[in-house]
């Protein structure tokens, strides 16, 4: 027994027009100052107002949003009493919107206790619309929430299936001006979501097809979107691919590249997509001998050599490295500009975090402590995995 959860997804050029058909009284937009500056907030506000809704904006979400910001936003929500919440922005804004929504609906719930085992009975006061403005996190369709408790300096991985949005609006209008570096980082995030959704041990019939199609779309369109941000066909396909990959991983799970990437990102402040994407080829090579990762399926779907798992895995890791080269993505930890002495000093902490990361357990091959350390060292030096 398992579940498949998805919002009602409105996608493609002008998908944002659906905002003019929303029925309700008040909409509360959760966003950040960049979205205000780019005019995206006005664009959304105008369409909601034309539907007859009164609109309020909370634009204080920071990168890696804090628990404290989410609490402030929930207080503002309670004062405004919206029946629609609109998350507009990258993953940070969408995660913050989900957290604020839960606290608005359930002021009795301690934010850091939100978990997938309890029932919260959301949607008594409001429903959620998500509008992504990057093509990567998939947060518009997932039930995950990542917040930072700034008081205690810790990351909180929260979530409940109830906080999957009611409507996700996947409109390439919002990503047409995305900078090349952000396009590459978020694109690698989406690719890692898709790969790991397919190979993790919780994979299932419903997520498999989504993962494969997302991988194919990203290999085809990410280099184009990176080279020419005005290539709207590439932008649109990448935007769709990120959402499809999000659906895939939200309904299965992740694997080792996320464990390693979370650890590196937390200790060296590397953007999430860059960190998890860096580890993808290494974890493909490491996981191949398990025989459980089903790399041959992926390689066959992409038209790569797929005679056996090992051959397929090496063909895939080479293909990922080629993509990373095409989009100027760092392929080793050293290439991120991290000095060897700093890396060595943090190696134990890197291993500690990766070992206890919740994504490790669903990896097709689970490293022991020594192998974790070797994975980090090989990734630092840019060496293919040979153990």
């Amino acid at each position: 027994m398992w579940y498949f959860d998805s919002p009602h997804i409105v996608y493609g050029e002008d998908a944002r027009c659906v905002l003019e058909t929303v029925e309700g009284r008040r909409a509360f937009i959760v966003t950040d100052p960049t979205m205000v500056r780019l005019g995206f907030v006005d664009e959304v506000r105008r369409r909601l107002e034309s539907a007859g809704l009164e609109v309020a904006v909370f634009s204080e979400v920071e990168p890696e949003p804090s628990l404290q910001t989410a609490v402030r936003g929930a207080e503002a929500m309670r004062a405004f009493e919206p029946d629609w919440i609109v998350g507009l922005g990258g993953g940070s804004c969408l995660d913050a919107a989900k957290a604020m929504w839960i606290m608005y609906e359930r002021p009795d719930v301690t934010p850091d206790s939100i978990n997938p085992f309890d029932t919260y009975h959301l949607r008594q006061k409001a429903r959620l619309i998500t509008i992504p403005t990057t093509s990567g996190t998939g947060s518009e369709v997932t039930w995950a929430i990542v917040l930072t408790d700034t008081a205690e300096q810790r990351k909180l991985g929260l979530g409940t299936r109830e906080c999957v949005a009611d409507i996700a609006i996947v409109d390439p209008y919002f990503v047409q001006g995305m900078p090349a570096r952000l396009t590459a980082d978020t694109g690698m995030d989406a690719l890692t979501h898709a790969f790991e959704a397919y190979v993790n041990t919780w994979h299932n019939d419903f997520s498999d097809g989504l993962a494969l199609q997302a991988i194919k779309l990203i290999f085809t369109y990410l280099p184009r979107a990176y080279r020419d941000g005005r290539d709207m066909a590439a932008r649109e396909h990448m935007h769709n691919a990120a959402t499809i990959a999000g659906l895939a991983c939200s309904n299965s799970l992740f694997a080792l590249a996320h464990s390693l990437g979370h650890s590196l990102g937390a200790l060296f402040h590397i953007p999430h997509g860059r960190a998890v994407g860096l580890f993808l080829p290494y974890t493909i090579e490491y996981s191949a001998p398990s025989g459980a990762a089903r790399y041959a399926d992926i390689a066959r779907f992409l038209g790569l050599p797929a005679d056996d798992e090992e051959t397929a895995a090496w063909a895939l890791s080479a293909r990922v490295r080629q993509l990373m080269h095409e989009i100027d993505q760092p392929q080793s930890i050293a290439a991120l500009g991290i000095a060897r002495a700093d890396f060595d000093a943090q190696l134990e902490a890197l291993v500690d975090r990766a070992e206890s990361d919740s994504q490790t357990v669903t990896s097709p091959r689970v490293p022991d402590r020594g192998e974790f350390a070797r994975l980090f060292v090989y990734a630092y030096e840019g060496r293919p995995i040979d153990f």
Binding site: M1, W2, Y3, F117, W202, S356
Partner: protein
């Protein structure tokens, strides 16, 4: 020798498997917490069976079938039907998936459990090593 599930002999055999497992010791090295596992009446069981297990830093300190549920007040109480426990013991139902789908019910700090998936996985791996007899 096969041990009947659920029973005092079975939970003690699992305790011994855990204490012999290097993988469990490593995965659960930071874990502190004891459990009641309740196998609910139904199927071959005429009444609920309560099993106690005290897990501490990668070791099982104590395990037994409970005759008086008031004798301990463990940090966690996990309950499920006989059939669902059987699937967990056979490695056919991931306990974290079981909790999310509410086939396993848990009283206690959910987030603490969520932070220990590798320990849960290794505990189940030890369950599958216990030679087990399931009453029809």
């Amino acid at each position: 020798m096969a041990h009947r599930f659920p029973s005092d002999a079975w939970i003690k055999a699992l305790c011994a498997e855990l204490n012999a497992s290097e993988a469990y010791a490593n995965a659960a090295k930071n874990w502190e917490g004891d459990f009641y596992f309740i196998v609910e009446a139904g199927g071959p069981l005429e009444k609920d069976v309560w099993l106690y297990m005290d897990l501490w830093h990668g070791k099982c300190r104590e395990a037994f079938e409970v005759t008086d549920p008031a004798s301990k007040s463990p940090e966690f109480v996990m309950s499920a039907s006989y059939e669902d426990w059987k699937k967990v013991v056979l490695g056919e139902l991931d306990p974290i998936k079981g909790l999310i789908s509410r086939r396993l019910k848990l009283k206690g700090n959910m987030n603490k459990i969520m932070r220990a998936p590798q320990a849960a996985k290794e505990l189940v791996a030890c369950c599958t090593k216990v030679e087990t007899e399931f009453p029809a």
